[in-house]
């Protein structure tokens, strides 16, 4: 087992709506190893996107991260934080939830970067693509020039409204420098955009969807990130383009050795890209392990359902096995304390009325499942009667894939 780069423990993000608290993510645990590609898979409304935003600290009101810790392993960052926030630092690991917002945000675009689902709406329509990538380069370069410790403690010479007004008068004071622009063109070339110098001066609407997603990857690479969070990077693209983008991500990952957290609803994407995978349901990971563990030695009925709903060209089944029902309500007062999948589960038993903990399937602890079936076999005599939760299981996808 190589060293971990992210240790997320008991992370919860709630949305405070007029109908009540919505648990978009709750009790989320994950350890990411340096250099791996970890896939999070789940259906719409399972909290995948909110998880991604929570890790980037980009959850917007009415949402808020309400508990948990996000440990980030980086010796130099830990060194910088150690004197100011000794409580947050444990060895090389810094708990990002325990340091102030400024310090945490200084990691955006330098240690963490993100690729979004819809490239067309994730670029500013009125600035050229080159300019927008150059901005990301600039963030990275300035952070390198001015170590994070300086920013956290003294808040250094930060970019202010005054600096912006100044830059309107004096081109030499612009945020984005010529060298960043040149680097942006290089990055565009890296992600396979032909004629990058010319394309850099074009606006997002002049790009095709696939090209724009490449540009977004270039923008994410500009940060030289330790961790790249890719939130449904191929969902908005044609199938043929999807494969190209995934190959590109694979290539870049192999080259730079960055860690990728890939969020998708597509099991095919997971199979193509990931080393390990976590299956997410109702705001938590219900089964995790290596690809083989999860795909071949599936334990959780929900994972089985997901796998069963993928068309199999050589399979014998006439019909796809859809999972009946919908994602459960994530409203705090409706969730209760049971297995959230129980009302859709074909193998629900009386024990499922109590919330299962995470059980290890293998001895090495790599494959774990939040389901009693990991411990005991299904006993039809103890099955819950059909429609057990019909009255309370109000359908809701609040706080789901809003991003």
């Amino acid at each position: 087992m190589s060293e971990t780069i992210l240790e997320i423990d008991d992370l919860s993000t709630q949305f405070f709506t007029s109908e009540g608290k919505v648990n978009a993510v709750h009790g989320f645990d994950l350890e990411l190893e340096r250099g791996e590609v970890f896939g999070i898979v789940g259906e719409s409304g399972s909290g995948k996107s909110v998880t991604a935003l929570s890790l980037m600290d980009l959850v917007e009101s009415p949402g808020r991260i309400t508990s948990g810790s996000v440990g980030y392993r980086n010796p130099s960052f830990a060194e910088n934080m150690r004197t100011s926030y000794p409580d947050a630092v444990d060895g090389d690991l810094v708990d990002l939830r325990a340091i102030p917002e400024d310090a945490r945000r200084s990691l955006r675009g330098t240690a963490f970067s993100m690729i979004f689902q819809d490239p067309e709406s994730s670029f500013n329509p009125s600035l050229t693509v080159g300019e927008q990538i150059a901005e990301a380069v600039e963030v990275q370069q300035r952070a390198t020039a001015m170590p994070r410790s300086g920013r956290a403690k003294t808040r250094g010479p930060e970019y202010s409204l005054g600096s912006y007004l100044m830059s309107m008068a004096l081109p030499s004071k612009r945020y984005v420098t010529e060298s960043s622009r040149a680097r942006a063109i290089e990055l565009l070339e890296t992600v396979g955009i032909p004629d990058p110098a010319q394309r850099a001066d074009e606006y997002p609407h002049e790009y095709s969807g696939g090209m724009l997603q490449r540009a977004m990857i270039a923008q994410a690479l500009a940060s030289e990130p330790d961790v790249l969070i890719a939130d449904e990077p191929t969902t908005a693209l044609d199938v043929t383009i999807q494969a190209q983008i995934l190959d590109l991500l694979n290539e870049l990952q192999a080259e730079t050795g960055m860690t990728i957290l890939l969020i998708t609803h597509n099991l095919g994407v997971v199979a193509r890209m990931c080393d390990r995978v976590g299956v997410m349901y109702a705001g938590e990971i219900v089964e995790r392990g290596t690809l083989e563990d999860v795909f071949d030695d599936t334990v959780h009925p929900y994972t089985k359902g997901l796998l069963g709903s993928v068309p199999d060209l050589e399979g014998t089944a006439d019909r796809l096995q859809a999972i009946s029902g919908n994602v459960p309500s994530l409203l705090d007062h409706e969730m209760g304390d049971r297995c959230y999948f129980a009302d859709r589960c074909p193998k629900a038993m009386d024990t499922c009325l109590e919330k299962p903990r995470s059980f290890d399937v293998d001895a090495d602890g790599r494959h774990s499942v939040t389901c009693y079936l990991a411990e005991e076999n299904y006993d039809p005599d103890r099955a819950l009667e059909e429609g057990r939760f019909a009255s309370e299981g109000a359908v809701s996808d609040v706080g789901g894939d809003s991003q």
């Binding site: 670029f123 329509p125 990275q140």
Partner: protein, 358 residues
């Protein structure tokens, strides 16, 4: 290429609009009561004289001949003669343009300088006291009538606090109030434009600044223009504040803003370079449209402050039914409106790359 085509089309549309304005005005004059010759000469004028004027002015010709004459004159830049002063209307319009443009631009600057920061603060501190303050201000600003605001400003600033600002005429001022002297140098400025109560025109103030390194002229100009500009600009300020606020809030919710945050871009850059810039696209449009309206709206403000602009002249012309002068001013305002609009459209394509592509 597309730009030129676009401009030509807008220009042709503009010409059509002007023609419409001219025709409607001419029609109104034709059906309005009162014989022009009598209006020119005054009641009780010699019958023979009236008849001779009718003949000379072509008032005895059929209406369509009169119309063609008028339009023909316009095409040669001839707006006719003022019935009252017997002066060339074109000259009478031109000499009043600087004062109105000064006032309009000053009001617009007031609006931009106040409204955009206010709107930004309002949008970024939503539902905080500063947002409530800004919202209250814009509500008041939108619902306060110009003439009342102007009078109140004069009352408070000039009469109560004695800031020397020339109020209406030399008529009696309220007991106990400071009597405000006329500015000493009413007359014509270097360029031959009447300075009226503003005392000094902006070009003169700039000349003094550049050639004599004297700021006193500019100071005088500022003192005279501040209250009228505030009066004219308040509604506008309130409107732009609201537009900026709602536009910013809209933009802030868009996915690209989250993406810029994820890039780690400093907040001011996200806010101004990205969000405000996109918010400005619709605001520029309104700004342009409103600048045209301001020129027309200046009528009331100019009357309240006795500002020697087109609006004041229009009111004078209306009062004495000086039709050619009235027509000339209205045609000019329509013309200015159209020119401003074309400029705004051209600017819009600059700001919004998606428009120029179409």
């Amino acid at each position: 290429m597309a730009m030129r085509q676009f401009l030509v089309r807008r220009l042709l549309q503009g010409i059509l609009v002007i023609w419409g304005v001219v025709t409607v005005l001419f029609g109104l004059r034709a059906v309005s009561p009162g014989d022009p010759a009598t209006l020119m000469l005054g009641e009780g004028a010699n019958r023979e004289l009236v008849e001779r004027v009718r003949e000379e002015e072509g008032l005895n010709e059929p209406i369509y001949v009169q119309y063609l004459d008028y339009v023909g004159g316009l095409l040669q830049g001839d707006l006719g003669y003022s019935w009252q002063s017997n002066r060339d209307v074109t000259a009478m319009v031109i000499e009043r343009i600087p004062a109105t443009i000064e006032l309009t631009i000053a009001a617009t600057i007031v609006a931009i300088v106040i409204a955009i920061p206010l709107g930004v603060v309002s949008a970024t501190r939503r539902n905080e006291p500063s947002d409530y303050g800004a919202t209250l201000f814009s509500l008041l600003g939108i619902s306060t009538p110009n003439f009342w605001l102007g009078l109140m400003l004069i009352l408070v600033m000039s009469v109560w606090f004695g800031i020397p600002y020339p109020t209406m005429s030399t008529a009696a001022v309220p007991v106990g109030a400071v009597r405000i002297p006329y500015p000493s140098h009413i007359g014509y400025d270097f360029y031959g434009f009447p300075t009226g109560r503003r005392g000094v025109g902006f070009p003169d103030a700039m000349r003094a600044l550049v050639y004599d390194q004297s700021v006193s002229e500019l100071g005088a100009w500022l003192r005279y223009i501040t209250l009228p500009a505030l009066t004219l600009g308040t509604y506008f300020t309130a409107l732009i504040t609201r537009l900026t606020r709602s536009g910013m809030i809209d933009e802030l919710g868009k996915p690209y803003v989250t993406a810029t945050k994820a890039k780690g871009l400093p907040n001011p850059l996200i806010r101004y370079k990205h969000v405000l810039r996109n918010t400005m696209i619709p605001i520029i449009t309104v700004l342009g449209l409103q600048m045209g309206t301001l020129m027309g709206g200046a009528v009331i403000t100019e009357t309240v402050f006795n500002w020697p602009g087109l609006g004041l002249r229009l009111v004078d012309a209306l009062r004495i039914r000086d039709w050619p002068l009235m027509q000339g001013i209205i045609i000019f305002i329509a013309f200015a409106f159209i020119v401003i609009n074309i400029v705004v459209d051209a600017l819009y394509t600059k700001l919004n790359p998606q428009v120029s592509a179409e």
